[in-house]
Structure formats: C-alpha cells, structure tokens
C-alpha cells in the first residue's frame, strides 16, 4: 500500500459540494500541513462533515480536487486512499471482536501476522484486556478508543475524526480530548477533527478553520481566532463577545497601517479607541463600525470610584442588570445606553460588595483589547440564541 510513502500536506483546491440546488460546501481552498492537528469547527449543517467526507472519499466533490502530498486522490475510491476515519457513531463492526475490529484494516491489506500490531495498538488506547469482547460489551468511551485504534493501526497519512467525542458525557469528553492530543503527538499523523464544540477545537487543535454556511469564515491558531475574530460569526461562535455598534470619528489608516495608528469611534456618547491593526475592515470616517471586546477583558468598578480608573482606557457607564456567581468568576450583565446586555466576567479576587444588580458601574478596558468588525453583518451571527445560528443556516 501507499501509506508508507513520505506524507505531505492535504490540499483542497476549489472543492465544493452541491446536493441538487443546495450547496453544502462552497468552493474551498484549504491546506492542512503534515503532522498538524487541524479542526474544522462550525454549527451543524455548516459543511464541515461534508468537507471531511470528501477528503475520505465517501463523498464525491462537485468541483475541485483533493491532493494528499503530491498525489491527486479526487477520484480514488475510499478503500484505495491512505486515510482512515473515526466515525461519529464509531461504526464498529458489531459481529467482530475488538481484536478483529482493530485488525480489519491490516487483514484487508493482506497482512498475515497482525497479533503483535493489534496488541500494541490496544495497549496504546489502554484496552488490552478487552481484545476478545464484542463492541456492545464496551462503554461509549471504550468504543470510541477502539474506533481510534482501528483507524490508527493502518498508519494513515491523515486521520479524519468526525465529531468523535459527540456521544460522550462532558467529563469523559475532556479526558478523551487530552488522550487524543497525546496520541497525536505520539504518532505524529495529521489529524483532521470535525467538531461543533469550540472549546474542544481550541484545546486540541493547532489550527482551527471556522466554517459557516458552507464557507470557511476564518482560519488560524486558536488564540489568534479568539483575539482577532474577522467576522461577527467567529466573534460570537468562539466564546462570547460584546459587540457595540459605533460611528467612526477618526479612521486612522486602516488595517494595513502599523500598530501605532488608532481608530476612534463614538457610541451614544462614549468615545472608544482601538488599534487600527485589530480592525478587520477598512473604516471610513463617519461610517459605521462594530466594536468588540471579550467579557473577561473588561474591569468593573462602582460609579463612585471613577477617579481610580487610569487614563487612556475605554470607558462605558451602565447599571448591573444581573449577576451570577460561578465560583472562579462572577458573570455580570450590564445595561448601558451604549449597548444593552454587555457581559463582563470578573475574577473573584477581591469582591466589591456594592456590585449587585441595580448598582451604577463603570466598565473599562485597555483599548488594545478592542477589535473592529464590518458593521454590514448581523451582530447575532453565531450566537447560541435561536436567532443567530438559524438565520445563518437559512442564509446558507
């Protein structure tokens, strides 16, 4: 077989998939570097699984090509591709023992002495003593590990994981995330992981592609995506963002300028500043801009202590509408003229007893932590509320 040939990147060039008039994936170019842990992140129906299945050969692209290294595999049947898949429901063969499930790929390639390899692989996923059991005798987490072992034993060039942790409960999922990450580091194979769980994507992957409506919205390292979202969808889907609609006072020199230049905007009397380098669009003086800031970047003080705030910080006044104590932090919802329902996460280091619902407060943060987005898009895109994701899917 060809799996031992020097690997290479997975290259998707202009691949798309139509079902009748519905477009599941719009023409897409994507390069997945060899040996990386790559996540395709998005809500259900965003085309991430279709993209994965096109790499596996289970779905034929309507247009475009798939390359593994230098080899074009677009028209290759799945059984001829040096890739293996961990299916969402595991798809273990119910009539075969765990040993035979794991040995399946090796036997199909005519390898006779599979015992040692299978035993080693079962050791790697810590299931040595279950070799003779049937899949239905194992728990969900164990079945999941069998599915990983069954794919990995073939040393594929790329391992495709289709929501592999979706069926597991939260605690087990966390454990398996670390486990998968450990295995990936150990074997050094390219992993392409499809998930709708942003936390999962951020913990595990080196690179995340956020998909929405059959398109890649943004691609980058988890921290990069989180700190510098390019669209409201990414801003809302990865974590939570406070988005404020504002009018541009001074346009600066746009995203291309050096880090020194600043954009000044105003929203209902509040004047906010942000670095031009963190603005995903080119602002025009007098035009609209969406200004965003993450809830954990914001500090909260009681209105009486306004003079303690250092100069040069972005400031907004408001009133606490709601607060919930969740242990490590307290989450506040602030009503302000600038924006209803601003979220603020405050670490519970020193709690000010005056910060209770109804209190007048001032929110302030470092202008460096502000990002700017094109105001032409929906502020709700990618939010967990029904309006957000549904609208996004319909418009796809």
């Amino acid at each position: 077989m060809t799996d031992k040939t020097a690997g290479g990147d997975v290259r998707l060039s202009g691949i798309s998939k139509h079902y009748g008039t519905f477009t599941a994936v719009h023409p897409l170019d994507l390069t997945i570097p060899q040996g990386s842990f790559f996540a395709l992140l998005g809500a259900s129906g965003c085309g991430k699984t279709t993209t994965l299945r096109m790499i596996a050969g289970l779905e034929e692209p309507s247009t475009g090509t798939v390359h593994l290294g230098d080899r074009e595999v677009t028209d290759l049947q799945p059984y001829k591709r040096p890739v293996n898949t961990v299916f969402q429901s595991y798809a273990l063969f119910p009539h075969l023992s765990i040993f035979e499930n794991v040995a399946f790929g090796l036997r199909r390639r005519g390898i006779k002495s599979v015992k040692k390899q299978v035993d080693d692989m079962l050791e790697l996923v810590q299931l040595g003593q279950f070799a003779q059991r049937k899949p239905h005798q194992l728990s969900g987490g164990q079945q999941q590990r069998v599915a990983v072992a069954r794919a990995l034993i073939n040393h594929p060039q790329v391992l495709l994981l289709d929501e592999p942790l979706g069926a597991l409960d939260l605690k087990l999922r966390r454990q398996m995330q670390l486990e998968l990450k450990r295995i990936q580091t150990e074997v050094g194979i390219t992993f392409v992981h499809v998930t709708h769980d942003q936390e999962e994507a951020m913990t595990m992957a080196d690179t995340v592609a956020v998909m929405n409506g059959g398109r890649v919205e943004q691609l980058g390292a988890p921290a990069e995506l989180y700190e510098n979202p390019g669209t409201t969808f990414v801003a809302n889907f990865l974590g939570t963002s406070n988005l404020i609609e504002a009018t541009v006072e001074t346009a600066g020199t746009g995203a291309a300028a050096g880090s020194g230049s600043e954009i000044v905007v105003s929203a209902s009397g509040a004047v906010l500043r942000l670095p031009a380098s963190r603005c995903a669009t080119t602002p025009r003086t007098g035009g609209k801009l969406l200004v965003g800031v993450r809830p954990e970047k914001i500090s909260l003080v009681h209105a009486d202590e306004e003079d303690t705030i250092a100069t040069g910080r972005n400031k907004i006044t408001g009133r606490i509408a709601d607060s919930s104590f969740i242990g490590v932090s307290t989450q506040y919802v602030i009503d302000s003229q600038v924006c209803p329902e601003l979220e603020v996460y405050a670490q519970n280091i020193e709690r000010d007893s005056r910060l209770v619902p109804g209190a007048e407060v001032i929110l302030h943060w470092n202008p460096e932590h502000t990002f700017g987005l094109d105001a032409a898009q929906s502020m709700l895109a990618g939010t967990m509320g029904d309006a957000g994701i549904e609208t996004v899917e319909e418009s796809a």
């Binding site: 799945p78 890739v83 429901s89 798809a91 119910p94 009539h95 199909r108």
Partner: protein, 309 residues
C-alpha cells in the same frame, strides 16, 4: 420522639393496598397471554395429542381403531416411504437454496438501493398473496405447459439438457417433472425468504459499509465480511420459513408433478383421505416433524445466530 414513633405505623397501614396493586401488575402479562395459550391448547396441543394416540392405534375403519401401543407403525411407515421423505427434503432444500439465491439480491436492492421505491417494491413482493395459493400454482401449470413458450425457450437455450442430465426433467417436458415441483415451491415460498432477509439487511447501519470501505475493503469484501455476516439472522429465519413449510407441502407436487415426484405431504394426504389408514398417516406426520426439528436444531447451532441477535 414523635419522629421515631411515626414510621413503624405508616407502613403497616399502607402495605396491603400497595401489595395488591403490585400483585395485579404482576398478573397482567398472564392475562395477556391467556387468549394465545387457549388458542394453542385447542388448536395445537389437543390435535397433537390426538394424532399421537392415533399413531399407536391398530384396527380398521370398519372395526374401529383401538390404542394398542403398536409402535411398529412408525418403522413400517418409515421403511415404506423413505424415498418420499428423501425427495421431500431434497425438493425443499433445492427450493430453499433457489429462494436464497433469488431473494438475497432482491432484498439487498430493496434495503439499500431502492430509495423512494422501497415501499412499492415491498408491496410487490407480497402482492401474490392477494391471489389464492391454488390459483397461482395452477397458473404455473399453464406457464410450464408442454409446447408452451417457456418450455420452448428453455429447450432452445439448452437448459433442459442440463436439467435432464441432472435428472430434474425428462425429454422436452417440464410439467410433471421434479423441476416443475421445485419451481412451484420456489415461487410460492419466495416472499417468506425475502421479507426476513429484507428486515435484517435494512437494520444494518450503512455507516458500517463506509467504515469497511474506509478500512481498505473492496465492495466485494465489504459484502463478504460485513453485510453478509450481519444478515445471518435473516438468512436463518428466511431459510427456516421456506424449508419447513416446503418440506411438508403437497399442493405443488400434486398439481405440477407426477406419481414419480410425490413428496411426503402427498403420501400423508392420501393415507388420510384415500386409503383411510389413520395410524400410518399420523406416524408419518410425526416422523416428518422429528426430522425437521432435528435438522433445524443442527442448522441453528451451526449458523450460530444467538451471537448475532
């Protein structure tokens, strides 16, 4: 004090009604079973007991039959009619194999490839049941008639040479040959093969096919290693539903066969209704039942289906 005194009294007063309710609940399954059990008792167990006693009687119709515990009837019946027993098993076995060969691809198609035609195809599979069994079998008499188009075609393509070499036909006739009887049996029992096959194929998760393909199995290997093993429950129940009634069938041999193709069902029927030798007829019925039971037991053991369901 008051808190410790209260509990012992409470259960004593509430226990009887709780107990009665749970007893009623436990009896419900038996009430539900009752009609079925009565039915089986009247129409299955009682006739069986009656037949068993008939089989050990001796006498004649004029003088009346008496229970004499004469088990020799069994041996006599078996030695006299073993060719018919063998023939029954052979015809039923051949028909079952043909049903499997014809039915499996069809069930596979309906389960995996038919899409929106699935329900229509299933209705077509059972459509023959809307016509009487007898009429359909009589229709085969016309289809296979001497000099008819079917026989002419079979003759021209040399099919009849093959079957006559196999001893299933003679000359250029199909009617009144073993082939005709096997065709009739195959036709009549085909739906009983297709339906269980369909239901077990339909339950197979198609993602298993994808997974096997993903693990380097070619389509033919996917079938051999995944689809077929997983459809074994359907294969077993389909073959049983075909083989068991086919081995006791007499209508096909009666209408499409000749005196040389008599099956054990025909013998039993004529013993009962023409010769009026009830003990022999009853003994033959029990021998057939025993043979089928033994064969089925061995078959199920060998097929190892308890592992699959």
């Amino acid at each position: 004090m008051t808190t410790t005194a209260a509990p012992p009294e409470a259960p004593a007063s509430t226990e009887p009604p709780v107990h009665r309710a749970s007893l009623r609940k436990r009896l419900i399954p038996y009430w539900l079973l009752l009609p079925g059990i009565l039915w089986l008792l009247v129409f299955f167990v009682l006739p069986m007991v009656y037949q068993a006693s008939t089989s050990v009687q001796t006498g004649s119709l004029e003088e009346g039959f008496k229970v004499t515990w004469h088990f020799g009837t069994y041996w006599d019946a078996f030695t006299e009619y073993y060719p018919q027993f063998l023939r029954s098993l052979l015809y039923a076995g051949t028909a079952t194999a043909l049903c499997l060969l014809l039915g499996y691809p069809l069930a596979y198609l309906i389960a995996f490839k038919a899409g929106r035609w699935r329900n229509l195809l299933l209705v077509l599979v059972i459509a023959p049941f809307f016509t009487s069994f007898l009429i359909r079998t009589l229709a085969w008499k016309t289809i296979l008639a001497d000099g008819g188009p079917v026989v002419a075609v079979l003759n021209n393509i040399g099919f009849l040479d093959v079957t006559s070499w196999l001893g299933m036909t003679e000359g250029d006739r199909v009617l009144a040959t073993p082939l005709a009887v096997v065709c009739g049996l195959t036709y009549n029992f085909l739906p009983f093969m297709i339906l269980p096959l369909y239901s077990s194929l339909e339950r197979i998760d198609t993602r298993l096919h994808e997974a096997a393909g993903d693990l380097y199995a070619r389509p033919a290997t996917v079938f051999r290693k995944v689809t077929f093993p997983l459809s074994m429950p359907g294969v077993v129940s389909g073959t049983l539903l075909t083989f068991i009634p086919a081995s006791g069938d007499y209508v096909n041999a009666e209408l499409l066969g000749s005196t040389d193709t008599r099956m054990i069902g025909n013998v039993i029927q004529s013993q009962y209704l023409r010769i009026l030798d009830y003990p022999t007829a009853a003994a033959l019925s029990f021998i057939l039942m025993a043979i089928v039971l033994i064969m089925v037991t061995i078959y199920i053991r060998r097929a190892g289906t308890e592992d699959l369901v």
